[in-house]
């Protein structure tokens, strides 16, 4: 049963009510990130949430008499709850999100591009109140064929089982809990037409691995996630291309595609939502990455710390992420002279602020500004004079623009980005995204 709504505890109560409504209505349980986002939105716009709650309550009433409706978002973290345990009977639901982007470099307009960046379909089936399977398939760049650059990939494919009130376990291909974006990467969930650089170049969003994950929803707003999974594959580092400079980990992730699994990795993440409107979190992922294919053993470690705060109409977030790769001197010795040696460290950080200046019914307009700095080759192991590559310059990117919510789940975005190093990349961006 959903809890009663009390004005004096509206934020917490509404979030519980939403969870209860979803659970008892046999719709998918909100993810941790989704729940957090809902919580933040609720804190920022009380009136709108009341309306949404009323709508959800109506939906719940309707769903009590018929099969469940579609999922509200791609399921990721699902803290087990008593409400979920009360679910009975099978449940199959679809979800999806997509983004269409237009990028116009202002100094090189001839490189202007429009792209259906991704179109993602999710399918969830609940076998029992405690067990469900989740799948998500992504189509990139509209057309996938031997002669086109498009790609089809499974982003998620896992089974989740609740172990009790506090803990659940997940097995299969799942998103790694890292940063703010990786588990909640739908275009309606972030500001800016493009995902921020730190959470693409340093944290290789959308980053998924195969393995086992435990998820615990403890008291006092604490969520823990930990598990064992496949990891990165340094043996496929291509020193002849610049891909590794664009995203060191993005160039060596495996995505469970015949992944080398001689070396497994460990990951852990903790989030705290003890104060309404505030999220504090951190994560770490570490594991050997030469997969016993090389005489050199090398460990890849990535960690981050992040925060998001929603006081009233404001929405602030900040994140720092740093990656390290050990024994890169030995790995790089055969690669000397190539354009992209393996960095010993790389990092990035950003701060972002947004303000909801106007709302009317479902409409909402939120200008934002983001400042981020990142370096995909912050340091290299010493190979001797003339052979050690210099550290790459740190790129600074300012992004300013606005998100216009047409309705819940549909957003139109526009922004401009200034680059301090790659000045030719300064660009105007326009985007349309949706998520359901």
């Amino acid at each position: 049963m959903p809890p009663r709504i009390r004005p004096t505890r509206i934020v917490v109560a509404l979030s519980l009510a939403l969870a209860g409504a979803v659970a008892t209505g046999q719709t998918p349980t909100p993810t941790e990130a989704e729940l957090a986002r809902k919580l933040d939105q609720l804190a920022a716009e009380l009136a709108a949430v009341k309306a949404q709650l009323a709508m959800l309550q109506q939906q719940r009433a309707a769903q009590a008499a018929q099969a469940p409706a579609a999922a509200s978002a791609p399921p990721t973290v699902v803290p087990p709850t008593a409400e979920a345990a009360a679910i009975t009977g099978p449940d199959t639901a679809f979800s999806g999100y997509a983004e269409i982007n237009y990028n116009r470099p202002t100094t090189q307009p001839e490189n202007t591009q429009a792209d259906l960046r991704r179109f993602v379909l999710g399918l969830q089936h609940r076998f029992s109140p405690a067990t469900k399977v989740v799948g998500e398939i992504e189509f990139e760049h509209a057309v996938t064929s031997a002669d086109d650059s498009g790609e089809v990939a499974l982003e998620q494919a896992y089974v989740e089982h609740q172990l009790g009130r506090a803990w659940g376990v997940r097995g299969g291909l799942f998103l790694i809990p890292a940063g703010l974006l990786n588990e909640s990467h739908e275009p309606t969930a972030y500001y800016g037409v493009e995902r921020n650089f730190v959470e693409t170049a340093i944290i290789p969003t959308t980053w998924r691995e195969g393995g086992v994950e435990f998820i615990g929803q403890l008291g006092n707003g604490i969520t823990l996630q930990t598990g064992i999974s496949t990891g990165f594959d340094l043996t496929k580092w291509d020193a002849t291309s610049t891909e590794g400079q664009e995203s060191p980990l993005g160039s060596i992730h495996q995505e469970l595609a015949q992944a080398k699994a001689a070396n497994l990795s460990w990951f852990g993440a903790a989030s705290w939502r003890g104060i309404p409107g505030l999220l504090l979190g951190a994560s770490v992922f570490t594991g050997d990455a030469t997969q016993r294919q090389s005489v050199t053993t090398s460990r890849v470690t990535l960690w981050d710390a992040h925060a998001r705060w929603n006081p009233g109409r404001w929405d602030f977030s900040a994140l720092y992420a740093r990656g390290t790769i050990s024994n890169t001197a030995a790995l790089n010795e055969p690669l000397v002279g190539n354009p992209s040696l393996i960095p010993a460290s790389f990092d990035g950080y950003y701060v972002q602020g947004a303000y909801k200046v106007w709302t009317q019914q479902d409409y909402a307009l939120a200008p934002f500004v983001r400042w981020e700095r990142f370096n995909t080759g912050k340091s290299y192991a010493d190979l001797g004079p003339g052979l050690t590559p210099p550290a790459l310059p740190t790129e600074t990117v300012w992004t300013a623009g606005a998100s216009f919510q047409v309705t819940s789940g549909v957003v139109v975005k526009a922004d401009y980005q200034w680059f301090s190093v790659a000045k030719d990349s300064n660009r105007f961006n326009l985007g349309l995204g949706w998520s359901f």
Binding site: T240, P334, G384, G386
Partner: protein, 396 residues
């Protein structure tokens, strides 16, 4: 020696190994002390070293592909001598037959790049296919036909073993017997560890057993650098994702504009040009004028042991060959003759209409007349030092 090799040497698994894409093995494997050959491979070794199978009675496969010189010629001739009296000159330099286990039949890849095939022009689809030709080539082993070769084979001391392996009546079917000969040669080249030894200093370096010296390491950097030697563009030096050691060839083709070598007798005819890929005897690429002048990219393993370089064997030292690479465009007068009007007859081993095919877009060929070469003399020495680490049989 690698895990893949170890399995391959068990005998019958060799082809499966090759098909599975083992590029030479992983770094934690030691080279094999000795090779245990299958029956077919053992026959292949006998055939490979048997000069009685030639018209002259003095030439075997091993005569040009000398085992002690990394299965390449141990002399500096532009082309080897052969024929019934061992006095007829070949038309191209004899390549090494090592590290060909992973070569494929000729094809155009997804980007249209010609790839694979055996011989300088890729005309043979396999080691077996390649093995047929020297027996019948009038300037090599010079047999009249397959029956002639098989008749010689039937008189060898190992003829009974050949019958035992391929059938008692195999010599009554010369075409089949000739094919089995070539098959046995292929098996030998796939199974004998000497053909795929991976015993160079560079292999030991990749295995983490020895470091490269400072000059060798500088040379490797120049080898890899796209702005300097850019050698790795066609001769990849990095380990594969499966830990396999590099073969130092991508099995593609390139048109280098190597100067005409008047040591080759056929070049005495001013109307003759060896056009390579587009001039294959099958004629299948005759309409691909853009491929005229292109020749196979050989492995650089054991390159320091060679005594003549490029398809026409023009250069007699590796340093000269490297210097040509970097000075071809900056100082063409050093490499090409002058025309009657005094101008340099650049790319003189190609008809004028095909000279635009020569690779001039990538380093180190992308320099202009009078520019500084991509590599200095000292850097060429560094590069030489590195290339010398690619010779098999390294002993720390």
């Amino acid at each position: 020696m690698t895990p893949c090799r170890a399995r391959a040497l068990a005998g019958a698994a060799v082809l499966a190994w090759a098909l599975a894409g083992c590029g030479g093995g992983t770094a934690d494997q030691k080279p094999a002390a000795e090779t245990v050959l299958s029956e077919q491979a053992a026959l292949g070794e006998l055939i490979f070293k048997d000069a009685s199978l030639s018209a002259s009675g003095r030439q075997a496969c091993a005569s040009c592909h000398v085992e002690s010189n990394a299965h390449s010629p141990d002399n500096a001739l532009a082309a080897q001598l052969g024929g019934p009296s061992m006095d007829r000159q070949g038309v191209r330099s004899a390549p090494s037959t090592r590290y060909l286990a992973l070569n494929t039949r000729f094809f155009f890849d997804g980007e249209g790049t010609p790839t694979g095939g055996f011989f300088w022009d890729g005309r043979a689809p396999s080691l077996q296919g390649q093995a047929h030709e020297p027996f019948l080539n009038p300037v090599e082993m010079a047999n009249a036909d397959a029956a002639d070769v098989v008749a010689k084979l039937s008189r060898t001391p190992y003829a009974d073993e050949f019958r035992r392996v391929y059938g008692a009546d195999i010599f009554t079917q010369p075409a089949d017997a000739f094919d089995r000969m070539a098959l046995a040669l292929q098996r030998y080249q796939l199974e004998d560890v000497e053909f795929n030894a991976f015993t160079s200093k560079y292999d030991e370096f990749l295995r983490g057993n020895v470091p490269l010296g400072a000059q060798e390491q500088r040379g490797l950097a120049l080898f890899n650098s796209p702005a300097k030697g850019n050698c790795a563009g066609c001769h990849p030096s990095a380990q594969g994702a499966d830990g396999s050691h590099p073969l130092f060839t991508d099995f593609t083709y390139d048109n280098l504009g190597v100067p005409r070598n008047m040591e080759l007798l056929h070049n005495g005819d001013p109307t003759f040009f060896d056009l390579g890929l587009c001039a294959r005897s099958s004629g299948e690429l005759a309409d691909r004028a853009d491929l005229c002048g292109a020749f196979k990219v050989p492995s650089l393993r054991n390159v320091a042991l060679r005594k003549a370089f490029f398809h026409n064997g023009l250069f007699k030292s590796l340093k000269t060959a490297l210097t040509f690479y970097v000075q071809r465009d900056t100082h063409p007068e050093k490499w090409y003759p002058r025309k009657p009007d005094g101008s340099v007859d650049k790319f003189n081993d190609l008809p004028v209409g095909y000279r635009a095919n020569v690779n001039r877009t990538e380093a180190p060929y992308n320099r202009q007349l009078g520019d500084a070469p991509a590599l200095s003399d000292a850097e060429i020495d560094d590069l030489l030092a590195f290339l010398q680490t690619l010779s098999d049989g390294y002993v720390p």
